[in-house]
């Protein structure tokens, strides 16, 4: 009772109102509009049942491939960033001069706007004049040159690589912080017992790093499922529909005025991420409360 006087609940109403109106309400509205033919050409909105979902999963359309691409992007970037980030963190953990400088450098790509990264790599990955192919030719590795963003076999891999370039430093620094919190005495004890480097990694480092690894996996996963800008800028879904992901498809539906289908796609993503998010965020809420 006294608590409610000192810390009145109505202080939170403004925040809750803004958050609900601009964040939650649109998502809930999405479920209703998913079952309608809402579009920009007519003012009347009709209930059309599952038609939008039939369109999404019909064989003549590409929506299934957008979902597959999104999942593919997410899994690939989670694995690449975690494996590379961990490897870099292990190498750079000890015996490095000018640590602060390297930290600033490796973190730099994470703070540059994704849009700018996309534009820069559009130039670097240009098949004729790009820095990457030029360098490969210069060192005599002509065979490795590719039409990075134009060739349907390479475009999506290139996008994944660019996203990894941008994000791996961030992941590495989280893991580095985790590594430095591991008590050195574990390693000393293991050394006395004659453990090999591999065993130390497997039985000490990785298990003790699990909380940090869980966090980076979650961050990468949420980032991957929401991917938009890097694809939009680098290829805009091309060649054809080869690199379209959910959010670029939603933007295209939006631009064409096909709001119903766009909303149906968005709602599906919402449902999926909210279910996964529920478990992750519950864990985060508990961690926060324990402090």
């Amino acid at each position: 009772m006294v608590r409610n006087k000192i810390y009145p609940s109505y202080f939170t109403w403004g925040t809750l109102a803004f958050y609900s109106i601009f964040f939650i309400v649109p998502s809930l509205m999405g479920f209703y509009y998913s079952f309608t033919d809402w579009n920009s050409y007519s003012d009347a909105i009709h209930f059309i049942g599952l038609d939008n979902f039939k369109v999404m999963f019909s064989a003549d359309e590409n929506y299934v491939s957008f979902i597959v691409n999104t999942v593919n992007f997410t899994i690939s970037t989670v694995i690449l960033k975690t494996v590379l980030g961990l490897a870099f963190a292990l190498i750079l953990n000890e015996g490095i001069r000018m640590k602060g400088f390297h930290r600033v450098m490796l973190f730099m790509p994470s703070i540059v706007p994704m849009l700018v990264v996309g534009l820069i790599f559009k130039s670097i990955l240009n098949p004729a004049t790009g820095l990457l192919n030029e360098t490969l030719r210069y060192i005599g590795l002509d065979v490795l040159t590719q039409k990075w963003l134009v060739d349907a076999n390479w475009a999506f891999k290139s996008i994944i690589a660019v996203d990894t370039w941008k994000g791996v430093g961030y992941i590495m620094i989280i893991l580095l912080a985790g590594l430095q919190s591991i008590d050195k005495s574990y390693y000393e004890a293991a050394e006395i017992d004659g453990a090999s480097g591999w065993h130390k990694l497997k039985y000490i480092t990785v298990p003790l790093l699990m909380p940090a690894l869980a966090v980076t996996t979650v961050l990468n996963m949420l980032h991957g499922l929401k991917v938009f800008e890097v694809v939009y800028v680098l290829t805009n879904g091309g060649p054809g529909y080869a690199t379209d992901v959910l959010y670029t498809a939603i933007f295209k539906e939006f631009s064409m005025g096909r709001y119903g289908v766009g909303t149906a796609l968005s709602s599906m993503l919402f449902l999926f991420m909210t279910i996964i998010g529920y478990f992750i965020i519950r864990l985060m809420a508990k961690e926060g409360a324990r402090e």
Partner: protein, 273 residues
Amino acid sequence: MKKNPVQFVLKNSFAWVLSIIMFIPLLLIVVNSFKDRVGANSMSMSLPKTLHWSNFATVIEEGKLVQSFFNSLFYTSASTVLGIALSSIAAYIFARNATKLNRFLYFFIIMGIAMPINFVTLTKVMQVTNLMNTQLGIIILLAVMSIPFSVFLIYGFVNSVPRELDEAGIVDGCPPLRLFYSIILPLLTPVIVTVGILNFMGAWNDFVLPLYYLNDTAKWPMTLAVYNFFGRFQVNWNLVSADIVLTTLPVIVIYLLGQRYIISGMTSGSVKG
């Protein structure tokens, strides 16, 4: 630790190679922003023969950068202030008055970290609230998008501020709102600075919200302006590079000045060991 000179050299070279790989793409843009059109055609790392400062003048004029710079500055500052105001007071109440309902509401808000935004139906909300294609609309959206993570970070910090301070304030007859802004808020400075810098950079870098909700070029922030400029001047990579440099410079400067806060804020929220 064993001192192995070979290992030492290998490790340090590796660190340098990594740093260079991270830096070259950014350097490439800076180098080419000083070339003339022909020189920047190949977008190579070769240094420009003469420094064409005029590129920047051209870009500022052609790309309407002055206007979009002030737009960006306005959206970013206003949304950061609004976001912090909304997040800090809610986080404070949730942490101090942890009733069942408040714990649920805290969870409800930080669920936003995972939930994706439905941009299509958000249009409808923006139309109903008359915020479509307005500067206020973008500011509100940027602020709202920052709420979940900000509440999460500030909530953790409020718990570390001793309650005795609140009690002392109450004994002195401090009303609830003043207790918050004159006693608690100053003590939250470290986390507010971190959240502020993160949100500032997030808002500056944002491209999606104006892409959906601002049609009027006069209201565009820098990111959208640079993208549009790229569309118009694709062949002039020297100009595009200069535009990119000017767009990115503010974030890089803030990053270099506040890197301690930024790196610790972006990582400590996740690993508190």
